[in-house]
Point group: C2
């Protein structure tokens, strides 16, 4: 494992556990850590060059957000697997929270915010063309959370973040299999138009479609491909 620098540039004064949390969160949201990947406190600590202590707090928080799990039998740490059952719940929750956040953001989007949306979408399109899954997921995340942050609803925004943390690793697996070419057309342009018009209902509607299609893709993937399902298989 390579020792990474914990991006000290982003937040020098933040506590170590917060930095570890941010680093792990980003990796999870971008799907850098695959589902069922076993982790260990000491491993993460070594990777980030800190003691196991702050890792314990960061991991405990991620477990609370269901972005990580402690296996009941083992007490061992890993990235949870996304069953169809849980994916459906995730989809429901995302369809409640995120369209509403878009609607709340609509009357509050400043010119700069909309400009950032255009930039994020441009980055996203470039990533799509070049087939860079990581860059695509990063840009997609930035696009959505530029909107959610503008909604001025910390609680709901936190819920959305938790939902993304949970779907990130699995989303990466699916996108990695399909390739960026097969990804469904997103509704980002519709959203931008809605925000320029200050039309909350239109923003909500296009966000709902965007999420619905994306999650349907993952639901299909669970059925069609034999993705690593936690059967009785003893392979790690």
């Amino acid at each position: 494992m390579k020792v990474v620098s914990l991006k000290p540039a982003t937040n020098d004064n933040a506590s170590a556990h917060a930095q570890v949390y941010e680093a792990l969160s980003e990796d999870l949201i971008q799907g850098q850590i695959p589902p069922l990947k076993p982790l260990s406190l000491r491993g993460i600590a070594q990777r980030y060059g800190v003691s196991p202590m702050p890792v314990r707090e960061a991991v405990r928080r991620l477990i609370a957000e269901k972005a990580l799990e402690l296996q009941a039998e083992n007490k061992r740490l890993r990235v949870p697997h996304l069953t169809e059952h849980r994916l459906k719940q995730l989809t429901m929750a995302r369809c409640w929270v995120e369209p509403e956040l878009a609607a709340m953001a609509a009357p509050r989007m400043a010119r700069d915010d909309i400009k950032r949306l255009r930039d994020d979408d441009a980055t996203l399109m470039r990533a799509l063309k070049s087939g860079d899954v990581s860059a695509y997921m990063q840009a997609n995340h930035d696009f959505h959370f530029t909107i959610y942050r503008a909604a001025d609803a910390d609680l709901l925004c936190g819920m959305a973040r938790s939902l993304w943390l949970q779907s990130g690793p699995f989303m990466r697996v699916v996108f990695g299999r399909l390739g960026t070419v097969q990804l469904p057309k997103d509704h980002h342009q519709d959203m931008i138009a809605a925000f320029e018009a200050g039309n909350a209902d239109a923003a909500r509607a296009s966000m709902a479609e965007d999420i619905g299609e994306g999650m349907n893709l993952m639901l299909d993937a669970i059925g069609d491909h034999d993705l690593p399902q936690p059967k009785r298989r003893g392979r790690g």
Copy 2:
């Protein structure tokens, strides 16, 4: 501070941090710990007769669920205050999650579950008559989560639990001021009837009304009474 026994009867073999988490959760959901109450890791540790270590993990989890907060300027631990802004978000989220959980539970409620609902409701009515706010909140919680657990949707149920954790302390303040007599008629009988009929739509509807009225009570309380309101929730 009295040292309490951490209810070892409930889960002897569970780890200490899990027991501390359970104990704190229960206190928060029942509103035993008022908003803005300052806490300390060592204080909690002493109270439960453990070292500060497991407390740190339990508290970190509760912070992730926004049931506790670390003041940004102080880095000091306390129960968050519920502003009108956050209460509105809580209400929205509860109105999304919990009625749906009721609908999902409707076709799955066993005879025993419905019997438990009747028992919980009876306990609740007794508490209402005797004016016992603690018992009322406990019974109300049991009633709702008997339903949510039956929905077989761990993720959504966890979301509901987090929302209750956040509203518990404030709810207690409001109910304490109003007294149990002024509490609006709940819709528990309607729900029980819906579950007996296996009518998911009716269950969803009565749950929505139950939550809506309860939260409206709290919204009114924020405006009418001068509850301990921090001047401004602005950042910076």
